[in-house]
Amino acid sequence: MVQDLLNSLTLGSIYLLFALGMALVWGTIGILNFAHGSIFMFATFVAYLVTERVALPLPAVLIVASLTGAVLSVAVQVLAFQPIMRRAKNQHSAELQILIGGIGIAAVPIALAQRATLSNPFGLGQSTFQVQIYEIGDVRVSNIMIIILLAGLILGGGVAWWVKASRQGLALRAIGVNDEVASIMGINKQRLALSTMALGGALAGLAGALLTYYLSAITPESGDALLIKAFAAIVLGGLGSIAGVIAGSLILALSETMVLTYTSGTWVNAVSFGLIFLILVIRPQGIFGRKEVVRT
């Protein structure tokens, strides 16, 4: 039981790191980034390529992955999403174009990684960090689990604080409520969007490297599944609420672990899909979201 809880918390922290970036970008500048999953994967892939040549210590690997994630994310914003938003005639078509653009971009890094690895899983085993497992009573904890939990706790709390208390956070929330008024108040949406995308990408890269240490390898396609799970976590908590993303990630991880424990593994994916569907039908604004009234 304690073991299940610990595993869920670890998995939940990974979901959180991944979903935080997505939620920030979507909830404020209104971009649902479908390339987020492939950024997550490709950042890890770059870290893998680097560790194949140089045996780096863990902090260096995490920095490489985060930086790659941030750079990729900014590139996607500059090369695709910004031109789309500049050209789109209204919000509705912008949303659709961004969705498609993200899907198209996502295909490129996945194809590159598949080509390089021949679709085999890749890991970060060549770095100097070794996973160690400690047994406390009958609970097994590994050092990477502790690092993941700490990362989830610190970064989850940190981002929540940043959005709530800092000036940039206030500006971001203002854009989320009404970007026209926000720009009248002197907020530079473009610049803020770039830094938010960079943060989101960095978090995705970090999540990728940590998950790869935890599972010992990931495949080039693993970002896609996470994308849907992150979406589930975000709508579960309610878009625009960082506390919601934290709660959503943990609830999702907990329910998945339960399903994995009590049924055969093939039903696990139904949890995230089912949760998305249920929450959107019953309470579209999510657990923490406020109701927005739209008549038509």
Partner: protein
């Protein structure tokens, strides 16, 4: 003829993808972000296959019943998801599609689990499918002309305005779910009858992406877009053979470029060109009118007749 027989599978795929793409396009034309088409496709394909293999039904009976079932589910989905709009609706319907994938993966001997269903031998031929596509396209033409087309546009572009004009926005949206259900299920049923097999990976997220890219690159506004898009993306791999391993990369880049530079799709390009021609002509007319006003007197009657000539074009 030789070209046709060697590429018969691609022709077949093109027609199936046209139906599937239309099943996504009709809701989009009414501003409904529903990707449930892939779910209806799955119900059509697996429904037909199971009815034919387990119950010994004929192709046509199985197709009709599977399509009715999918349509009923589509109607219910339309009721249940009526409150959602935009991306939320999109993701809820994607979740619906993926739940079906998990269901067929766990369906035991009925759905064949991860391997899928094999040996669906029916009495349906390619020309049946071609005829069905032609009929559907013919019917859709009526929604793209005149009053009905304007109503569709109003419901999509400005639901508030549309309902203030007495258009029942909700019933149009519900209707889009039903039509989507029929088209999606037909696509699935035809596909399984012609290919004789269906597997979970052929009804997954990849199909959602294919359907969506077909519509975006081809064009959202008209069935012509679905036909162009389906033709491009079914035949593209054949023409990209020379790039070998880079096919997926090029595919991704094409999709991104289309998303950025041709928001209206390929059909949109033609529509835009037409508008530009028209506005250019209008401008010329206005200039002529201006010269006529400026130089009232000599040459005025000449310019006058020119303007009239231009306007009557």
């Amino acid at each position: 003829m030789n070209f046709f027989t060697t590429n018969i599978i691609l022709v077949e795929n093109t027609l199936v993808v046209i139906l599937l793409a239309l099943s996504i396009q009709i809701p989009l034309r009414l501003g409904v972000f529903s990707f449930a088409a892939i779910g209806y496709y799955a119900i059509g394909a697996y429904g037909s296959a199971i009815l034919m293999l387990e119950f010994g039904w004929g192709s046509w009976e199985a197709m009709i019943v599977a399509t009715l079932a999918a349509t009923a589910i589509a109607f219910l989905l339309g009721l249940v998801l009526a409150r959602l709009t935009g991306l939320y609706l999109g993701m809820a319907t994607i979740a619906f599609d993926l739940i079906l994938v998990v269901l067929v993966l766990n369906g035991g001997s009925l759905t064949g689990g991860p391997v899928g269903v094999f040996g669906v031998l029916g009495s349906i031929h390619l020309w049946h499918l071609a005829l069905a596509v032609v009929i559907v396209l013919g019917l859709l033409t009526f929604t793209e002309r005149g009053k009905l087309a304007r109503r569709f546009d109003a419901v999509r572009e400005d639901p508030q305005l549309a309902s203030s004009m007495g258009i029942n926005v909700f019933s149009y949206r519900r209707l889009s779910f039903v039509i989507s259900g029929v088209l999606g299920a037909l696509a699935g049923s035809f596909a399984v009858n012609l290919r004789s097999t269906v597997a979970p990976e052929s009804i997954g997220f990849g199909l959602v992406v294919l359907g969506l890219t077909v519509i975006i690159v081809g064009g959202q506004g008209s069935w012509v877009g679905a036909v162009i898009g389906a033709s491009i993306f079914v035949w593209l791999p054949k023409f990209l053979e020379f790039v070998g391993d880079w096919e997926e990369v090029i595919y991704g880049i094409i999709v991104v470029l289309a998303a950025i530079f041709i928001p209206g799709g390929i059909v949109g390009l033609f529509v835009e060109a037409k508008h530009r021609r028209q506005s250019k002509r209008n401008k010329e007319v206005i200039e002529l009118a201006a010269t006529r006003l400026a130089g009232s007197g000599e040459g005025a009657s000449d310019a006058n007749s020119q303007v009239e000539g231009a306007l009557s074009d």
